[in-house]
Symmetry: C2
Subunit: 201 residues, 2 copies
Amino acid sequence: MIEPPRDLDELRRRAAALTGRTLSTTASLHTKGKTGTLVEELLGATGRGAVHDFPELGVELKTVPVDAQLRPRESTYVCRISLAEAEHAEWETSWVRSKLSHVLFVPIHERTVLAPVFWRPTAEQERALRADFDELMGLIGRGRIEDVTAHDGELLQLRPKARDGSVRTTAFDRDGELVSTVPRGFYLRARFVGSLLTPRP
Amino acid sequence: MIEPPRDLDELRRRAAALTGRTLSTTASLHTKGKTGTLVEELLGATGRGAVHDFPELGVELKTVPVDAQLRPRESTYVCRISLAEAEHAEWETSWVRSKLSHVLFVPIHERTVLAPVFWRPTAEQERALRADFDELMGLIGRGRIEDVTAHDGELLQLRPKARDGSVRTTAFDRDGELVSTVPRGFYLRARFVGSLLTPRP
DNA sequence: CCGGATCCAAGTATGGATCCTG
DNA sequence: CAGGATCCATACTTGGATCCGG
């Protein structure tokens, strides 16, 4: 086990030191979440179950599979949402805002680690994220969960998040009744994360 | 896997048929909850996670370790309580009342199964149980959780229920603040269960 | 004795994400 | 191409209770 980084500079140095390294080709690495967990361990993340991967630094780590042009091949999962509490949710105190307040993106091309990118939302980006949040949570709060699709939201989208369709949670419908539905999570659109990895002036 | 009993008579017959049987002496049976789980399986209980062990019959199964005089060697665990919701809890709709509305006690002496006892609370017993419930939940509802000990309650008592002291839950203190404390559960006192196993006219 | 502390197995939830059809 | 579906490992929770020191 690797000690947690003592400050942001140490985390920067560790992340930079991984650049160009190739992750092991072991069969056990071919499963969905294994790359992310391995990079967490290599950087000394300790926040399993906490709000951030690096709780003292308030930094969230995300590995992103990319192509040779640094374009993400997938969207990036952020966190789950509580459908039943959507009506009272506020952006300022939301889990998704906390997670996204400071992110370390580690792009992975095939098995090679590329240059890390630290990101904090600009004022403009935060306005757009908040607008997505308000739109999505507003719909859910008004009982429209089944009308929400991954088409909604400019930067943030809402998608199913569960092992399979047999996992259920509850939400309110338009009549205010509790109904069973599939769990959802927030995701960052691939094109947005792509713009963060290759900034244009 | 054994099919669930179709009616109460079938459950009675199965429980009676276990009387005098000796549970296997396998090392794997020497752990705390294993006897209860084994008897559940032998009787065809299906209610893992449900309110009752036999959901269709509304019957709860409890194995009770006893001495040669049928005196329980331990108190009997009933269920957990939600400390944070204690203030609004009512006996009529409580989990503990449901659990205790119909119980099949299976006494175990060393590894031998003794005669089963079906029990439904008499009116008098239910009054006493309710009095204990109201006393305990009233204290907790008023933020006095840390003043409640296993001395309180005539038939029902409240005791810690967790792997070890590191597991925590939350309750309200006297100032209405949420505080961390150890999870609790309801238990039936050993002397009360003893009186149910050896009724005196 | 018995009140407070603890133990194990199994099921569920969570965090890590990628898979895969139309 | 990307929205909806799904996969794995690990942590946490729950239900089964018994352990053990004062």
